[in-house]
Subunit: 220 residues, 2 copies
């Protein structure tokens, strides 16, 4: 039995559990996003801004995925929303089974939006469906504008791109237009927002759009 | 046969090939570094600065590892040094076998320093020895100061930490002192340089130190 065969079986098994998660979410009319990016792109900061903006109008819960520590869960818990921390102990991505286990530890009655923040890794999490409605990829301007071309898998799988740290453009060698063009070359259907958690640019637009998607799911 | 068993066998096989690579480098008194980081931390920019600084005094060759594209190899080739591009086609790390294959495609006669730039991924490359003398981890200030705690494996395995984009500290929420303290908590033996490829701060110190390590190897 080859490594490739084992890898395929791991992914097939993951897809089965992801389908179970997806049914769980659909039955509860819960909209679920899977936030993915490089380490330090600002996923947690965007999540904080999103909670600040939306928590009075929506019931939100969070699952945090990290290689080590519960630092991100501590940040999120300050907003008074239910949060579960998954520590992968060196694992480079979340799997559907880990999310399924976390669901039972959360108080999810009435939750309308569940945000899963994946491990910071622009490669591996692309291959693991968690049962989410969509992947949201965060790419910060400080990482340069060539990342969609160099890491196409994630941009191909994502539905939304947040071009984050847009306030730092004057100080870094990155053209947001080129970054967006490169991303759309990989995935022409990407919905794109430019955001900054420092100036709050783009946060209302992103949050309003996200809320409209949640409402669509509730009415479906 | 379990996935864990397969994974252990993959790593054992990798370690065998890494030993072959290590003997190859030792016989030629070639000093080899494995540069690792998140996507967009500035590995290629630091490599460009290092080539600019050292190429007149040392024979240097480069192996570039990328998920997709040869954009980095094109940047490096401008410096007139031998460069091989490994495209992993979705793979999240370099393995010793891929490096071994690349060696035969490079003109390495007289090479004193070989730089391997790994795939941008702060998790998976930590587990794969390539036969290098040391891992150099690049962490940029734009990623925040908590990364050593959240991704300890890489900082544990590295010998050198380059705290890069030090010029952007005034604009980001990162304390370089806290970043260094967190890194040293994970690995007290880390040699640390603060660098900027924009202002060139720290580049001479890093390059002088690297050259002294190459010279040590030549005299060994």
């Amino acid at each position: 039995m080859s490594v490739v065969t084992i890898q395929r079986k791991v992914l097939e098994k993951n897809d089965e559990v992801a389908s179970v998660n997806r049914r769980y979410f659909a039955e509860r009319k819960m909209f679920v996003i899977n936030m993915v990016s490089s380490p330090g792109s600002g996923k947690t900061s965007i999540l904080e801004c999103t909670l600040e903006h939306l928590k009075s109008g929506l019931n939100i819960a969070v699952i945090e995925g990290d290689v080590q520590t519960d630092l991100d869960a501590q940040r999120v818990a300050k907003f008074g929303v239910p949060v579960a921390q998954i520590v992968t102990n060196g694992g480079c991505h979340l799997e559907a089974k880990l999310v399924n286990d976390a669901l039972s530890s959360l108080q999810l009655s009435g939750t309308q939006l569940l945000v899963i923040e994946n491990v910071g890794n622009l490669v591996c999490p692309a291959n693991y469906d968690l049962g989410e409605a969509m992947k949201v990829v965060v790419a910060s301007t400080t990482e340069g504008d060539d990342k969609p071309l160099k890491y196409p898998g994630m941009f191909h799988k994502a539905s939304v791109l947040l071009v984050n740290k847009i306030d730092l453009v004057p100080y870094v060698n990155c053209s947001p237009d080129r970054l967006k063009k490169n991303a759309l070359q990989i995935n022409p259907t990407l919905k794109i927002f430019e955001t900054s958690c420092t100036t709050k640019q783009g946060i209302p637009e992103w949050c309003d759009w996200l809320k409209s998607e949640v409402v669509k799911q509730l009415r479906a």
